[in-house]
Symmetry: C2
Subunit: 796 residues, 2 copies
Amino acid sequence: MAPVGAALWRSLCAHQVYGANTDVGKTIVSTILCNAVNHRNAEEKSAFLKPVSTGSLDEADDRHLQRHAPNTLTKCLYQFDEPVSPHIAARQKKFTIPRDDEILSSVHKTLSSWAGNGVSFALVETAGGVHSPGPNGNSQADLYRPLRLPIILVADSRLGGISSSISAYESLLVRGYDVQSVLLFWDDYYQNHEYLGNYFRNKSIPLVPLPPPPRRPQSQNSDSQARDREALDAYYSSVAGGVDVVSLLDELALRNTQRIEYLEEMASRAQKTIWYPFTQHHGMAARDITPIDSAYDDFFQTYTPEDSGQQGKLQATFDGSASWWTQGLGHGNPGLALSAAYAAGRYGHVMFPGNIHEPALSLAELLLQTVGNPRLQKVFYTDNGSTGMEVALKMGLRATCDRYGWDASQEQINILGLKGSYHGDTIGVMDCSEPSTYNQRVEWYRGRGHWFDFPLVKLSQGIWRVEIPEVLRESLGADQELPSLDAVFDLEKRVSSDAGARYKKYIFDTIEQLVLEQGKKFGALIMEPIILGAGGMLFCDPLFQRCLTDVVRDNPRLFDGTKASSTESYPQGDLAWSGLPVIFDEVFTGLYRLGRKSSASFLGVNPDIAVNAKLLTGGLIPLCTTLASEEIFNAFTSLEKRDALLHGHSYTAHAVGCQVAVHSLQTMNQMDGNGSWSEFKNDWKQPHTNDEFRPREGLGVWSVWPHRLVRDLSYAESVDGVFAIGTVLSISLKDAQGAGYTSTAAKGLQARLTAGGPHFNVHSRVLGNVLYLMSSVTSKKESLREIESLLREALL
Amino acid sequence: MAPVGAALWRSLCAHQVYGANTDVGKTIVSTILCNAVNHRNAEEKSAFLKPVSTGSLDEADDRHLQRHAPNTLTKCLYQFDEPVSPHIAARQKKFTIPRDDEILSSVHKTLSSWAGNGVSFALVETAGGVHSPGPNGNSQADLYRPLRLPIILVADSRLGGISSSISAYESLLVRGYDVQSVLLFWDDYYQNHEYLGNYFRNKSIPLVPLPPPPRRPQSQNSDSQARDREALDAYYSSVAGGVDVVSLLDELALRNTQRIEYLEEMASRAQKTIWYPFTQHHGMAARDITPIDSAYDDFFQTYTPEDSGQQGKLQATFDGSASWWTQGLGHGNPGLALSAAYAAGRYGHVMFPGNIHEPALSLAELLLQTVGNPRLQKVFYTDNGSTGMEVALKMGLRATCDRYGWDASQEQINILGLKGSYHGDTIGVMDCSEPSTYNQRVEWYRGRGHWFDFPLVKLSQGIWRVEIPEVLRESLGADQELPSLDAVFDLEKRVSSDAGARYKKYIFDTIEQLVLEQGKKFGALIMEPIILGAGGMLFCDPLFQRCLTDVVRDNPRLFDGTKASSTESYPQGDLAWSGLPVIFDEVFTGLYRLGRKSSASFLGVNPDIAVNAKLLTGGLIPLCTTLASEEIFNAFTSLEKRDALLHGHSYTAHAVGCQVAVHSLQTMNQMDGNGSWSEFKNDWKQPHTNDEFRPREGLGVWSVWPHRLVRDLSYAESVDGVFAIGTVLSISLKDAQGAGYTSTAAKGLQARLTAGGPHFNVHSRVLGNVLYLMSSVTSKKESLREIESLLREALL
């Protein structure tokens, strides 16, 4: 499945012709338009492409053009000789059915060669209606979508044609097509052109009614065929020069030019008005901004501007950051788009307090069930990871202060966390991270916590290594080596090893010192399980996170201050929190990003509060959930309104987001259940895995990135370490300058990926000296292989 | 335009029959299903309703049922005797065309009476295809949407029928319909039933293929008609008992029951899993939660549970809080839904740093142009008002600290604001409000600012009164009376009055005291212009907000601390900020909520930073913008990455939100331009307005709520004061208990509105002793009138 660039040329005004139904006269309209091109200017070249044609060769649409628009170049790519839908015609023939990507690539190649050969106007005519299946059974509207040609829609002038024309238009619209013109035949009785003319005018889409073509003669003898041909020729020559048709051609040409001009200008206009997130604008030039015309599946269609006579062009660029880690089910996913539209059409907005609607309820139930943590009973909705973490923080602090009887207005309550953590950019959750480059210039930032240094895991020279940072060497000992990634995650074994004991002692001693000697109070333990994302794709030794949780939960007396001698008054049981509420920020790592429903499951820890976002809505729309235990929830119930969690946003639990999330989550759960990733999983069941650490069935760690690639990269000269889990591949590069915000080596690798391979470029992101790649959960093996080749070329 | 309840009865399984196209056999399918009901159980009653029929009476579809399903009740509401689309047939007749709401109401009444008379199965058959226009020219899919009957779609078995069937399905889906079953005729050649069967099975929609009906004889003599009838009867009796058809009936009945069961359970299931925003859950029962099945235009469809044998029912409830102040263009707006789907289909997600896409660029440009404040040059995107205000706060603090050379890590920088302000629930912006019930239980809350008491405006006993609070009497003098609302807003006059001078002196003295005596430092002035929403719909005297801004801008030496003797080094000019950056939180009050593009325009103040959300996306989807001046922007440019605004969210500038916002904003701008609100505006050009205060053309204050109503309410015994601006009506009630979070009087009025009037109930919200009502910008005068009557009954 090689991707294709979207179709766009300055020199060639190319359109796709879709019909509101079969037999609405697409080919007649195509003939009229192609003739009109020549009528306007005899020197101009027009061309007609029928990618897939069914019916007898003689009746084929390209033949019709050859007869009646003799100056037009014509081509048919695939001809099936039965007048039925291509998916049926194709399977009745004895030859190989072209793959969808082959069809796309042939269409692009044909148009491209026409563009290079002086053709100024081209039509690509579909078969049947917009959703008529192509040879492989996929709807044409979906099949041709990556090209995203602007559309000429031939509407239906018959009885019922208003309805079918509008529905066809809507089906194109929800797939992100731009319909640039509608044509149809006059019918004085049904007058569809009048109704539809008004309808499309309101959408700034010109509709051109055409005189109806002569009726086809009933008999098929050669005389009548000749008469038919003459009548048609007379018809065509009378219509081709029509004012409406010629001005439509001008309009279409203008829109093609405008589209390109807009793409040329977008970057500089953006620079003028847009204040970008996380961006130092000083020195930023328009060329640093990439216009994205559309996106489909794993690919952005990025625009490369015109340069010294070269036409600007759109090209497929692999979205290697999973669009800021949000992307799950592919860009431009029509199923998700329809789910969004369904909820928008059913509800719009439902103000949430005091009300309930189906998407919010379904998602709450589905999510609790999916995550499968028995502690988590309640769902609180917000809009993004940052607000969801603010809510989690408020929950945790309240529960702790209530249990331990602290007055937080009189003293500072801190959180326990890890260095390099990131929980969002609102000031409350910024305060949950240690002072750093990111917050030092935020005037109201006041870090409130203690953040542990921790050991990192990486594959280096073929060996999985737990690296103990310098400052922890004395307490935690030397680096450890483990035989496989599965062994790294074999926590039931590791937690009772010497290393586990050392980790726990160090953690216990540190907290004891903070509380008893420094008098600090803590309100919650907050962690991103497994990978600290924004902090630099840091793969934290899961044993450390597990031990930290265990120490906090096993030692409530460490935290309670006033009640150091007795813990008996605290709630007991499997679902009760102990020591501190444990908050897991799974915004990035949750919901299959690392190949599992929850990243907490890697640690064997059930947090008391968990936050999900990003993949939750499959990369479409903002939504965040904060899940909490019944006990945390009860810390907010009282007779007083003021004790409630007085937090909400206008679009809390908005119907569109919840509906899309239900769709996304169901799809991923199905994929998980039906073995969609089994090839990747098998690849990671390594023969060299030490039997001792063989994971229980279904618990192995796996990645979409090939195990061999990861291992080979770990030997590369410029690579310091590498790891892959789920959809994430992280490559840490050796850099003389150390790990600044950007490193030269990482930037170099990024540039190599940007230059791309045979079929596409690769967009990637760099964090310090780390370049990471992240796929969606639906990425194709072929794409990943091509990226593998690029990485091997660049690094090995 | 009276609204109608959605159609739902436990005793009656009612469906709407839509066709994928005209002539696909809707009536034959209806006949089969009605016959099958009787075949299953001879005692069961079925019924068939054709709301609008075209073509000769004899050919009419209800006649067909009478002939071939003799046990079925039939009814046709409107018959037009030409076989064309109803919108054409209707205009060729000499009689009155029924309004769409009349048709809806007749359908509902008919079904209701059938439900009460033992009918267990009913079909409502549409004319033509899903988008075939009704008598008034509106698409049937839109026209019937308020009833939201579950759908039986008759698919098209002809060539091209796959496409038209799927497109028709999609058009229904994006309007929030539930398609519960698809039926179509076998065609062994085209085999559409096979393709569509798979297609719909994947969506859990059962598809039942039916044997094709006998061909109609060509000649029309009575013999052939009789044969035709016999053949049809034979056909019907062979099909009606088919296993597939009978099990479909069972399935449909089951789904009807399940839908009701779900509506019955929703509240208690929600109570089990949902943690509601701003809600004290203690003592909350399931009955306190309202299930909302759908929403359309200004109305929720709320579910009233079954009670002592009474069937549960859906009813239209006016959304009197504009769905938490978000609602602009009506719930379930198909245009907005399609815009959302278009962007979802075109892009999905586009990670924003370094990239640009059309919706984000278009919105940025359109918004800056709409707001029309020359200071505002840059657009920063976030997800909601709270995050947008966090960004505004970071912007303001940085600009001030940079200019005045303050090290904010060493000392506290405060904000200046008003008491009762609200800017969201993330902790950073909570700190921008004074200590109160809302934040006292948030452990990390630390109010950082000074908040002014201020005079309130209200209409009381027919007089517009500026009420000076007790604590300000000494400084500001006695209450003022003004002859009209326009006079209240005549700031150019009032600012130079005695009152203006007193306001300014008081403000100046206060700030001077705070800075010079208490040594406080301030980083920004933050206000909600005109109305402080969450604080209790407080209508702040606009003169006070204007004077506060003027004092801050005219006296930079008040703030700069170290440079008290000279201001010359500060940037000069119309676009430069002076004293403090002025931040306007227009999340609630902006973008036509108060009848104008910006609420800042009422004050004649151009803020340096402005935040918009809520109406921005027409009540569909979270999105927020923070607009800033070039100078503020420049405070973040340097050679250092760390100086940039390091803030962002995953879905920053998400394509779906931006596209919907462009659509929403363009629509409102058009309404503003084309006089959509002129009737409301004229109503507020009061003859008794003192000429002295007559506003300049186009600058008058107006409301959708009638001027007479507001005036009359101001005399009501239980009313303390009232005001209306734009879409907002606020009624402050006298309450012995004072203004707590809820007051008895306000709750009483709310209960009265909930009980509703002849056509609908009214959902409203209470803040303390204030009950407010808020419409969308497209609310119909008829609805508003009915609410007016309710208010008059309750209060006068």
